[in-house]
Amino acid sequence: MGVIEKVPAYIERIPGGGIVTTSMDWVLNESRASSMWYMLFGLACCAIEMMATGASRYDFDRFGMIFRASPRQSDLMFVAGTVTHKMAKRVKVLHEQMAEPRYVIAMGGCACNGGPFYYDCYSVLKGIDKVIPVDVYIPGCPPRPESLMQGCIKLQEKIKREKLSDWASDRPMPDRTIV
């Protein structure tokens, strides 16, 4: 009954079956938060750490997170690595190809604000949030898998706070969460 106790539901036994009364928001948010499929996409050294997190030692699968090789099937984009001006245009297109609701995690110093390439660099974009909206920022060079997973948990918390009614209107710009 451990799980059932956490569900905000009223369960009633009637002959021939059960009826569960719960909130639509809760069901949808819980299922979305537990199946954030992320895009198979990395830009630089941070992507190596993302791969490590996806592999068996840290194991993203237990979050219900599975990589998808197509933006059309992804809910979440890790911007893992150095975003050059040239690449930023492509990242923007990929972000637009993802179906709503979509989320972005900026992973590492480079994606947050240019990181080690902030000064004296002609080619690197100073933060992916200049191009697409970001939900969670994870600093580090590179962030350890633990930080990445904490970022995902923060994003799950954020998804669980959303309401169905938010979907009807234009989704507001995400608030900054710094892990």
């Binding site: 001006h85 040239k86 245009k89 902030y118 000064y119 004296d120 660099c121 002609y122 080619s123 974009l125 100073k126």
Partner: protein
């Protein structure tokens, strides 16, 4: 060949157009005048005693006081020797003939040097941008003193 042998052979053929640099490096360092640059490259590639068939680096250097330099490094798979070739280019209008007809590898290296330093390679078969975006129009970023739209220089300590 040792670097001394390379130096002597080249000096014999190119005379005063060629200058040997004294270094403590294992390779020969050679300056050539722009006028005989292409001829020398052709010679180094084709002469059997040199046989420099592998161009592994070509890049620009900007000396803001007086010149640009082009630096070519090549080696020979067969003879196992290396060599560094340098050319001094004009400060205001850096321009040199292409070597992409001699080494295929020069094609991309020259495109890179052209977009980053603004060195013009006369006769290059494909003078598009290589690394920068096609619509880049903020000048030549590896020249000293360059600044661009999104550029922040390191503050003084």
């Amino acid at each position: 060949m040792t670097k001394e042998e390379i130096a002597i052979k080249l000096k014999d053929k190119f005379g005063s157009e060629l200058e040997i640099l004294e270094t403590n490096q294992p390779e020969a360092y050679v300056y050539i005048s722009p006028a005989r640059y292409h001829e020398l490259c052709q010679f180094l590639k084709e002469a059997p005693e040199f046989d420099f068939d592998y161009l592994f680096q070509l890049g620009g250097v900007h000396y803001p006081e007086d010149r640009f330099e082009l630096v070519l490094c090549f080696s020979s798979h067969e003879r196992r020797h290396n060599m560094i070739l340098k050319v001094k280019l004009d400060k205001d209008n850096p321009q040199i003939v292409t070597t992409s007809d001699i080494w295929m590898a020069a094609n991309w290296y020259e495109r890179e040097a052209a977009e980053l330093f603004g060195i013009k390679f006369v006769g290059h078969p494909d003078p598009r941008h290589l690394l920068l975006d096609d619509d880049w129009d903020s000048g030549y970023p590896l020249r000293k003193g360059w600044t661009g739209p999104d550029f922040i220089s390191m503050p003084e300590k």
